[in-house]
Subunit: 415 residues, 2 copies
């Protein structure tokens, strides 16, 4: 039996939630989960530029405060205040009435509110990849310190683990987390991240060179945004997930495998020292990992359908072709180099995918650009970058590889 | 992080183990695991009739006491005493220096030592199917009472769960147990027991009718004894495992699925209320579930190889054909009828398989005999049977269906 998280996260009352990025793909699904569960109270909402949807969400949830990054504020319910300016997200995430911060915003700027929230003793559930890829060295020590405080009081407290504080929303990392519940991290031998392989699993290198944005956006199993669909085709997303897994689960790069699993039913697996392997399986529905991150250690009924092994019939696995998918090798290399290289990689991938989609970079140019970014920015000396240094590095990498920049390998289509 | 079980099971010293059935298939592998792990001290060994192997085991482990059910005692190390008579197993299992009892003995008689051990506050790790199929209604209340005592002191204690006290060694139930670690049993929606399907997965009913013992003993994935190989071909073993799962995990018969999985890599799975499914995978090596039952909640390095998803390539699943495998339906029916019917079923299956192997019953006669046994003995009224009543019922069922008994459906080959 698990203790009730409400007893952990407040005074037994409803848990106050700040949802950052509430109008994005993850944010909308998190909003759905949070408003369907009476254990939660949406205290704060932050959106990028979708004022209409923010207005509808505010009318439903009647939050104490909202923020909108760009554009004119919509009409808000009476009593809802507005946070403005560059520290609006931090202000929402650290409110006294917030217990849990859901992060659906993109980019390295999301690191600020995450660090502020952990510093203020809030639980963070995040779908933001920069949190760990660029900021793992900043975020995890905070989560570990919070966990150690709880462990000193009650080792059985779900918040006595760093994963109680920094909760992954990615389906792969959620799968690993679910497999690790009740297990000792010291008995983990390998992590096995599954990858659908994307739409070009069977393509030759010549075919890959000719891939168009339209074709790349047809993902076989998950309906996702353009960025993540291209990342799934290059396996860059899986490379970033390897780096995230390294930080989240404190496992070395040599002990993190990527396995192609076209059916996307096994979301990931863990191999233990005794030869036992545990896997988590699900349908491709992000509401499940979103809900798990919010309700852990509890499981609640969910609209997500359970997978049916008999209906699936077979689950297939194969090794990734790292020659065809160099992004995986580049990401492992960046992870081993350290936080600067990982931060350069994730910024460069953003640029590379945008340029592929706008036609200024061909498909095989994406990994070339990633490799060059890691080589140019990842081997600089000095200590690990702090938040300000990460934001500056992100800007520098984006400027270096922007469309039309001269002297960049892969910078022009069919170069 | 899990608390050390040695802190739970004694004064931090080595855990004393009584191994019952030490010379059988499970017993030999348990002996191997126990003698390789310095956390254990083999205090007592009991064998059936293999005096030579018992002597070799005693020479290696230097136990305080041994028992041999049949035949002349071998030479024993100085200081090793001998328990004799019908209560020898109980005497060994309840010794003051025993913390944990490993049960590799067969038959309903093993229930006596299991009940005595739980009554004396010993942890029981059992591969004996009668323990739960016939005696679930006696064993589980004891395990629950022991768990409740611990939970009152420390809810985080691994022994605060009934599964801490009654530990399954079957690979399927071990898989479910491993998937449930750290989870709340109340959030379990379905259990999914996998079955290899045995050697006749593709056979027609006509082909099944003509199956010989020689053919039936060729099991595709597991090397096992004759009894369990035939049980695997009829799916009677899976039917018995459904009844065991019902008792172990307190899940209704409607919520326990059987899925044919010819590769025998997914050992079983659990579906939770949120649509998440967790599975445990392993190679077909009983040393892993044996070790897990002994070392839980710890995992230790094991000689068992880990499964390789890429080498396996594909995992297949299909629904069992309950018409071709009536034993599954009969077992669910027996489970629903209650302990008398389940006890009659497991005794009848022993007789049926022995008669198939000696040529006095054809393959399709096995389920016919099971069905008749459940109908004749399972619907008698009265309260749930106690240990003495179970032993008497077992004897009655065996006598009723013994080879040559007149008037028994399926009692003669090709009847």
């Amino acid at each position: 039996m698990s203790p009730s998280p409400s007893a952990e996260l407040g005074s037994g009352a409803r848990r106050g939630v700040a949802l950052l990025g509430s109008t994005g793909s993850i944010g909308r699904q998190a909003f759905e989960v949070l408003t369907a569960d009476p254990a939660f109270h949406l205290v704060a909402l932050a959106a990028g530029r979708n004022a209409d949807l923010l207005a509808r969400q505010a009318a439903l949830a009647r939050p104490a405060a909202v923020a909108l990054a760009e554009g004119a504020l919509p009409e808000l319910p009476p009593g809802t205040t507005v946070e403005r300016g560059p520290s609006a997200l931090e202000a929402l995430a650290t409110r006294d009435d917030v217990d849990l911060v859901g992060v659906g915003t993109g980019g390295v700027v999301s690191l600020g509110p995450v660090l502020a929230a952990l510093g203020a003793g809030k639980v963070v559930a995040t779908a933001n990849k920069e949190t760990l890829v660029a900021g793992g060295h900043l975020v995890m020590p905070l989560a570990r310190a919070r966990a150690a405080e709880r462990a000193a009081i009650d080792p059985g407290d779900p918040l006595a683990s760093p994963l109680g504080w920094l909760r992954p929303i990615d389906s792969e990392h959620s799968a690993i987390w679910q497999c690790l519940v009740g297990e000792d991290l010291a008995t983990v031998e390998r992590l096995i991240l599954t990858a659908s392989g994307g739409p070009f699993l069977e393509a030759t290198t010549d075919e890959l060179a000719a891939v168009t944005p339209e074709r790349a956006l047809r993902h076989p199993t998950w309906r996702m945004g353009a960025k993540i669909t291209i990342d799934s085709a290059t396996l860059a997303n899986k490379g970033l997930e390897v780096i995230e897994a390294h930080w989240l689960y404190d496992v070395g790069y040599d002990a993190i495998d990527v396995v192609i699993h076209p059916q996307s039913i096994v979301h990931s697996a863990v191999r233990f020292v005794d030869g036992s392997l545990k896997a988590q399986l699900g349908t491709p529905d992000m509401r499940l990992p979103i809900q798990y991150a919010l309700t852990h250690p509890d499981r609640r009924p969910s609209p997500a359908a359970a997978p049916d092994l008999v209906a699936a019939g077979r689950l297939e696995f194969r090794a990734p072709d790292e020659e065809r998918s160099p992004a995986l090798r580049i990401a492992r290399h960046a992870g081993r180099l350290g936080p600067r290289a990982s931060a350069a990689l994730i910024a460069a991938d953003d640029v590379a995918v945008a340029r592929f989609l706008d036609g200024s970079l061909d498909f095989l140019g994406i990994p070339r650009l990633l490799e060059e970014a890691v080589a140019r920015f990842g081997t600089a000396g000095g200590s690990d970058p702090d938040l300000a240094a990460l934001v500056a590095l992100d800007r520098e990498v984006r400027a270096a590889f922007a469309s039309g920049t001269p002297g960049v390998a892969g910078a022009s289509r069919a170069s």
